[in-house]
């Protein structure tokens, strides 16, 4: 079993408190960072091969280095705690069980990017995590960790999946509806309130203190050639022990399912979603994939948020797609025509098929519509929707056809 890095404190009594975190050596990395030059912090994170754990897998140190050197105004650090990707629940665990790891990660990151103000955008439904994290922030203020050059504002969302997309999140943080914005400009150039902004996921920033404390080489060595570290895999669906599992990013999907107790239900695997609802589905004979960014990309899917949803042989794939199609139709923000129209139409067509009124050529229409819209929209939401549309239909076409009228 790989080393426990992110979940190292979960088993401690009152792990969410400052006393417990300090007792486990917490804030030692921050002490070290305070005497380290910002550029050296960025360098260390670059060398660690840390890649964003929120979805896109972008190299974290490189993102930080995009803040314009010439910029003299404010720089903001925004934490994406709007966890909403179907099948993902790791950030909830971090906020509830180790909130000080995030505060410490933010302190170090803020120094690296020269930010004096950070925002933590927590999804509105996460009331308990929000209370826990707010309490940790208060403790950090009382202890003088915050308020001396860096402040944290905890912000609650109000229910909208699209606010997890970083520019949608920034719109929402600015007091607007959560409409994504065209990139470029990227947030690092023009982000929150028009200023250079780094948006990072909760788990990504929780990796930063261990990297600073134990060194980039150690962290890089935990992972694969192109991605360092361990990460928290959320495993749910038809497994015997659903839950969050920390493992090296070099673990395979097969090993991960075994760690979660193996397949439940019929005990025979049919398909797995490897990286949250928006990842292309894998069949039972595609699970030897390495669960890092490039391993999943090579298998034609994505690691995304590392939300693994397991389906045994008794699961209806058309019904599973209908659930996701309904979700995308509901959550499209409506700005882009291909996304707004296709998500609605595809939901209707999949619904019709599941109800037994579909025609076989509906399947070609779904594939055609899905393939046309890719890459044409303001944000990656729609690309995330077509992953399931295409892969479910192409890989399980027979099952869809069996429901269709000839």
């Amino acid at each position: 079993m790989a080393e426990t890095v992110l979940m190292r404190n979960f088993g401690r009594a009152d792990s969410h408190t400052l006393a417990s975190y300090r007792g486990a050596g917490g804030y030692a990395a921050w002490d070290k960072a305070q005497t380290t030059e910002p550029a050296a912090l960025v360098d260390e994170v670059k060398k660690s091969n840390l890649r964003g754990l929120g979805g896109a897998g972008f190299p974290t140190g490189m993102k930080w280095s995009f803040i314009p050197k010439s910029h003299t105004g404010p720089v903001y650090l925004v934490v994406n705690a709007d966890e909403g990707e179907p099948g993902t629940f790791k950030d909830r665990y971090l906020l509830e069980r180790d909130p000080h790891a995030l505060v410490e990660g933010m302190l170090i990151t803020a120094r690296a990017i020269r930010s004096a103000l950070g925002f933590v955008y927590i999804r509105g439904e996460y009331v308990q995590p929000w209370r826990r994290f707010s309490a940790a922030v208060k403790e950090a203020y009382d202890a003088g960790l915050l308020g001396r050059g860096f402040d944290i504002v905890v912000h609650r969302g109000a229910g909208a999946y699209i606010c997890g997309e970083e520019t949608g999140l920034l719109s929402s943080l600015e007091g607007k509806k959560g409409w994504p914005k065209i990139k470029p400009p990227f947030p690092a150039i023009k982000g929150a309130f028009g200023q250079p902004t780094i948006v990072n996921n909760v788990e990504t920033l929780c990796c930063v203190p261990p990297i600073i404390e134990r060194g980039a080489a150690w962290f890089a060595g935990l992972g694969t050639k192109t991605q360092g570290g361990t990460r928290m895999y959320s495993v749910s669906g038809r497994v015997k022990q659903p839950g969050v599992y920390e493992a090296s990013v070099s673990i395979t999907l097969r090993q991960l399912i075994e760690r979660a107790g193996g397949v439940s239900g019929t005990g025979r695997l049919k398909a797995v979603v490897p990286g949250g609802g928006s990842a292309a589905i894998l069949t039972a004979d595609e699970i030897d994939v390495v669960m890092d960014v490039d391993g999943c990309r090579g298998a034609g899917t994505m690691i995304g948020s590392a939300g693994v949803i397991v389906m045994d042989e008794s699961v209806s794939i058309p019904e599973a797609l209908l659930v996701l199609a309904r979700f995308y139709a509901h959550e499209s923000c409506g700005q882009c025509t291909p996304c707004r129209e296709s998500t609605g139409w595809i939901e209707k067509m999949v619904h019709r098929i599941v109800e037994g009124h579909g025609r076989k050529d509906d399947l070609d229409t779904i594939l055609d519509v899905a393939k046309r819209g890719g890459g044409t929209t303001i944000c990656a939401f729609y690309d995330g929707a077509i992953g399931p549309y295409i892969s479910y239909v192409e890989k399980f076409r027979g099952e869809f056809e069996a429901l269709c009228r000839s």
Binding site: G87, E125, G157, A158, G175, K177, S236, M311, F327
Partner: protein
């Protein structure tokens, strides 16, 4: 659940027994101080709009057009802007809601764990369909998207709490506890 009767949620607000809107839409002086504190946290005061809307909903029960206009006034924004924001997010209610809100997740992992049966059990016990509020204003029932507690599927949010690994018996106990 369709039996020809109009869905409860389409009745005019006055006939509803949920949280009645207070006669005047106004924050207390302490709340106004809190609004100013929140506005001061952001580089642009407008950043506090979502938090203040949460406050308004907690205070007034739901976000009526009057409440929207009132909040707009506190920000120097147009009521149309605030309306656009309120309608975008699922946690803001434009109509009176029940004293308790139950959001049953019906996304993929919960679906695999029987979310539809869970929803039907809630509907049968409450005598309403998803999207509706009981006549006595006790509970609003919703089907919601992934609440990111999929390891505990099937699950639901009941007011501030996540209720995990639901069974019909557990649902009965939960509902019995809602006054």
């Amino acid at each position: 659940m369709s039996n020809g009767a109009p869905p409860t949620s389409s009745r005019p607000p006055t006939e509803r027994a949920g949280l009645a809107a207070p006669a005047t839409i106004k924050f207390s002086p302490e709340q106004l101080a809190e609004v100013r504190r929140l506005q001061g946290l952001y580089p642009d005061a407008r950043g506090a709009l979502l938090p203040v809307l949460h406050m308004a909903q907690d205070t007034f029960g739901y976000l009526s057009l009057e409440a929207e206009a009132y909040v707009a006034g506190l920000f120097g924004l147009s009521p149309a802007h605030v309306h656009e924001v309120v309608t975008f997010y699922t946690l803001y209610f434009q109509q009176p809601k029940g004293r308790h809100v139950v959001g049953v997740c019906h996304n993929l992992s919960c679906h695999l764990a029987g979310a539809q049966d869970i929803l039907r059990h809630f509907e049968a016990r409450l005598g309403i369909a998803r999207g509706e509020t009981t006549d006595d204003g006790r509970v609003t029932l919703q089907a919601v998207e992934c609440l990111c507690a999929c390891e505990a599927a099937p699950m639901a949010q009941v007011d501030d709490r996540y209720e995990m690994q639901l069974t019909p018996e557990k649902i009965d106990r939960i509902l019995d506890g809602l006054r």
